[in-house]
Symmetry: C2
């Protein structure tokens, strides 16, 4: 058993079943909060904002002041890594990310070691936040998982990923080489985050959907496993949360094969699948519908109670199945968190 001051999130990740689950929300920091929208106006562009430790730390801490959350997650973006590897990345207002042409794989491979240095500000953000955060609240670091990051690198923008999925069939060797570069850069980045104060590491595989099982094994299971093994080989025992969003029934394959401490479930996860993953010895996280959080009302309360009833007999972290939507009323976010924490 852990110390009473051990953050609730770390206790759940160590496999403890708790009186009530720890709670945090994906995108708890960001556009749903008016103070973030104000803060954001002080930076020229989104990438600069993420690379400014004072501003990013402030964005990370804003929801912690408003809500009784059990964890903070560093304010950053999954596309900082391709930028650090030499691909141009920018954000078009209201349209999302844009990326320049994919550099040659060998050129990016040569940049892997240097890329971690180019992400040093994210380590600074973590140090600032950890120094200001109460000890009973955990700090989460994260990275985009290789396949998801590769879809943006290959397609140059958000998409339905059909071009990237076709590339996986037509150019398997090239894709594997790109994933290898990303595995190495991501492992180093996460080691740096852990050394800078991150107590939990999360891998966001935002685009695990629509993949056939054999492809999923090759481009999701294998790279996630490789990253975690590399981080462990560096002497870091920080727990991992893996989030294969949209993987459907393949989430169970993921849970059985990838050495994460917890599996984050998306909105459509079934109660029994979550229970089977808990029975298999892993913590689960999820999976309130972000549309219901935005809609609010008695259905929101009922669903929160239902999720806790179905999953809190094992190690469980309360969260959404996807990120907080920008137009979610702040009252709904607060109401949901307080319903979980009971205060």
């Amino acid at each position: 058993m852990s110390e009473p001051t051990t953050p609730r999130l770390l206790r759940a990740l160590a496999g403890e079943t708790l009186d009530r689950p720890p709670v945090w929300f994906m995108r708890q920091a960001g556009r749903s909060l008016p103070e973030y929208r104000e803060l954001r106006t002080r930076a020229q562009d989104f990438i600069s904002f993420c690379h400014d430790p004072e501003m990013a730390a402030e964005a990370t801490l804003q929801p912690m002041r408003r809500f009784p959350l059990d964890a903070a997650i560093v304010f950053a973006d999954i596309l900082l890594i391709p930028r650090a590897l030499g691909q141009k990345v920018w954000f078009e207002t209201g349209e999302g990310p844009r990326l320049g042409p994919l550099p040659p794989i060998e050129a990016m491979a040569d940049q892997v070691e240097a890329s971690t240095g180019r992400l040093a500000e994210i380590g600074e953000t973590l140090k600032i936040v950890r120094a200001k955060l109460e000890p009973e609240r955990a700090l989460i670091g994260f990275a985009g998982a290789p396949w998801t990051v590769a879809t943006y690198m290959l397609e140059g923008r958000g998409s339905d990923r059909s071009a990237a999925r076709t590339y996986a069939y037509q150019h398997p060797d090239e894709l594997d080489a790109l994933l290898d570069v990303l595995v190495e850069a991501t492992a180093r980045y996460l080691v740096m985050q852990a050394k800078s104060g991150a107590q939990v590491l999360k891998l966001f595989e935002s685009w695990a959907e629509h993949l056939a099982e054999d492809v999923f094994e090759r481009i999701v299971v294998k790279p996630h496993t490789a990253i975690i093994e590399k981080v462990r080989a560096a002497g870091i025992d920080t727990p991992f949360i893996g989030f294969p969003r949209g993987a459907g029934a393949l989430v169970e394959t993921y849970a059985a094969r990838v050495p994460v401490e917890a599996v984050a479930l998306d909105t459509q996860a079934s109660a029994v699948m979550g229970q089977r993953i808990q029975d298999g010895g892993k913590t689960i996280q999820g999976a309130l519908d972000n549309l219901l959080l935005r809609a609010g009302g008695p259905a929101l309360d009922a669903r929160i109670d239902g999720l806790i009833a179905q999953w809190n007999d094992g190690p469980y972290i309360f969260n959404l199945g996807h990120g907080v939507l920008p137009d979610t009323p702040v009252e709904n976010i607060e109401r949901a968190i307080r319903r979980v924490t009971g205060n």
Copy 2:
């Protein structure tokens, strides 16, 4: 055991494990075939094409002449029902369906009985095809499932369904009323199709993805069950294939709860989930990646062999996980079908 002339598809749907699975492909008729593209130019618009029995029968039969398929599926569209209920529906070239304002639910409820008469041409198409098709090849009728059709009716076009999913939370009673109208109209439409020669009925729930389990029970499981019970109450024992596309782990809930004879699996279905559904007494169908069919090559052959190896120890129908893409080379379609049939 069935007669030797019983179509292979019907044997699989009766629960038989066969030496090789029957094979058909979603969207086997349509834009991937040059003869369809030629035929399509003879009709003013897509809706008129679907309502012309001679042309629709010809489109249905075109792939049957080219390929050794085990089944034909009537050429029609899931949006013929809302049109028959009084909502305006049209297709913008290259952009997909557009729908006019949603009529009042009560007005549509009054049109349910008449709607089946307005779909009489689809029955004529089935009669023409059944008369021309060899007896060992089965004929499939279909309808869009209520929730999927409702998303188009509510949003007026194809979309990410977030408006419809939000409507499900904010206006549950109105949505239930709309689904009830669609259940009744769909059941009547399918009874008419069975009486016109359809030997199998398929329910396409194309947008079962991203739904929370409680919502999935209410808007997918319940309406599908109601439709099948109504068709059975009308004295029709035609087997059903249900396709809850994108439902992930909830496909198992669907298989356990909805009285379909077969569950169609999408691209990301896991081998073990399919096997569990077979062990539960149902036939499964699926789930070759349509992107791999388009890409072709040795990876296509290997995956076809892999799917048969993982699922043909139980009742299994070979198909794609989604429809044939319009730019799929005809050679790849033929190669894939012949690899399954062995001729």
